[in-house]
């Protein structure tokens, strides 16, 4: 069972998408796993042959439990296997350690790095031992108690409050649409699914609360902003879109995403994760895109290799990502791979957004809505479309000067949209 965040403790196997004997390629979806984030496609990290199923659909197992075995390519077959079709060469290994092997191949995999999750899988109640005992003594059902402790843990004080009938300490108010249809994902045998979507949403809210609280508590944020003239970029985009059919049109946001990814070369330390006491700079840019879910809450999913893909490719990728996120069908790598996040409140939103860094990342870029404003150029006054770009970054890792260079690089890239 892959961990999709260090706080995830268990997941339910929904279905096998491959069967023993199948030839597997790195990146293939082998199984579906249900967590409170929705049904996640579990990918394999090695070419090989599906050897044996260890966990049956409908079973809930702790993280780390091998789900199946894979014979890694190059190993002798244990049992006769149909000759594999000539496989294309495997993509080169990046050398980056991927979090959490989804399945246990017969060859040992590198230990996945553990880092605190953005999204907590609350298969288990996060409650202090003392609070658990107190809850039993006072007859309080701790599952009904809002935790206010570290990372949302339920403390003695929470139990005492609940026993006294008081509300939980004030939390961030979250408007939750009262009722809506369950997600498109097929319900599994997991009992948790029957508890309804509201539960899942509450838990997601709590995990967001935990991740964001942790971020604000642990990460010394600094904030920068710059206003960028999008005249050149929007003129180019309008020209492009004018000659394209609707399904090929690009959103202005794609230019911003691509620019944010490319600008990383000016300040690579912003594309990194903080591992307890040190920063690990990532070689590839997997932009995390904050996707708000229609039913409330949000997920941050990786748009892989953002800097090297074409705008069209990225557009397709983002469309696919958004659709699947909203359907509750995400891939494990998308949840765990992002290296820097971009958030935007959309074109009907606000002038500027100041992000909260998504741990263990060290920076978040925000784009406000694109608006027309008076703009001075060479002593003349013009109406131009502009956008306010912001950066919230971890001061342990970078300084304002570097952050400023990064925003400036985004600005310069957007002045030359052909290059994006």
């Amino acid at each position: 069972m892959p961990t999709l965040g260090a706080d995830m403790e268990a997941g339910t196997l929904v279905a096998w998408r491959k069967q023993p004997g199948d030839v597997l390629r790195r990146g293939d979806t082998i199984a579906e796993v249900d967590t409170e984030k929705g049904v996640i496609d579990v990918e394999v990290f090695h070419d090989g042959v599906f050897d044996a199923i260890l966990v049956a659909p409908g079973t809930r197992v702790p993280v780390g439990t091998p789900l199946a075995t894979i014979r890694v390519a190059g190993e002798p077959a244990v049992a006769p296997v149909a000759a594999a079709p000539a496989a294309p060469p495997a993509p080169p290994e990046t050398g980056e350690v991927r979090p959490a092997a989804a399945v246990a191949p017969t060859r040992p995999l590198p230990t996945p790095p553990l880092y605190a999750p953005a999204l907590d899988a609350l298969g288990r109640l996060r409650i202090s031992p003392s609070a658990r005992r107190l809850a039993r003594e006072l007859g309080v059902d701790p599952r009904l108690v809002e935790g206010t402790g570290r990372e949302g843990a339920i403390t003695r004080a929470d139990i005492e409050r609940a026993a006294a009938g008081e509300p939980a300490a004030p939390q961030v108010a979250v408007p939750v649409t009262p009722a809506f249809a369950p997600p498109a994902a097929p319900p599994s045998a997991d009992r948790q699914d029957r508890q309804g979507h509201q539960d899942r949403l509450d838990r997601m809210r709590r995990t967001i609360a935990a991740a964001m609280s942790r971020s604000k508590r642990e990460i010394p944020h600094y904030y920068l902003s710059t206003t960028i003239d999008l005249h050149a970029a929007m003129a180019w985009l309008d020209r492009e879109n004018e000659r394209r059919p609707p399904e090929k049109r690009l959103l202005a946001g794609m230019l911003l995403l691509k620019a944010a990814a490319l600008a990383i070369r000016e300040a690579p330390e912003l594309n990194a994760v903080w591992e307890g006491d040190r920063v690990v700079v990532k070689p590839d840019v997997h932009l995390g895109v904050a996707i708000s879910l229609r039913q409330g809450g949000l997920v941050i999913l990786a748009l892989h290799d953002t800097a090297s893909r074409s705008l069209d490719d990225l557009m397709d990728g983002l469309r696919d990502l958004t659709a699947r996120a909203r359907a509750g069908r995400m891939k494990s790598s998308e949840l765990s791979d992002s290296t820097i996040t971009v958030t935007s409140l959309g074109d009907r939103g606000v002038d500027a957004v100041w992000g909260v860094i998504y741990p263990p990342q060290v920076a978040i870029v925000g784009f406000g809505k694109i608006v027309e404003r008076p703009w001075a150029v060479d002593g003349g006054l013009f109406v131009r479309r502009i956008v306010t770009a912001t950066l919230a970054a971890d001061h342990r890792v970078s300084d304002g000067h570097r952050g400023g260079l990064y925003l400036d690089a985004i600005d310069r890239l957007l002045q030359d949209p052909e290059q994006l």
Partner: protein, 78 residues
């Protein structure tokens, strides 16, 4: 089926697919559904794509931004 009815039905169907939780029966003809249904730019572009496909029409990019209410859609497309 008149064009108007067909357009209205198509628009509502597409919107229902994008925002399954919404109460579309309550949607006023003049209401800005981008705002009412909280459609972001990706949602809206998906709406335009599906609308063009369903009605077999071409909507230029500069016009697409106008299609924000039932009434405007009907006015523009019929």
């Amino acid at each position: 089926m008149s064009d108007e009815v067909k357009i209205r039905q198509t628009v509502l169907e597409i919107l229902g697919g994008i925002a399954p939780e919404a109460d579309l029966a309550a949607l006023e003809p003049d209401a800005n559904f981008r705002r009412e249904l909280d459609l972001d730019s990706m949602d809206f572009q998906n709406f335009v794509i599906r609308l063009c496909k369903a009605l077999a029409v071409h909507v230029p990019d500069r016009d697409a931004a106008q299609l924000t209410s039932l009434k405007r859609c009907i006015d523009y497309l019929r």
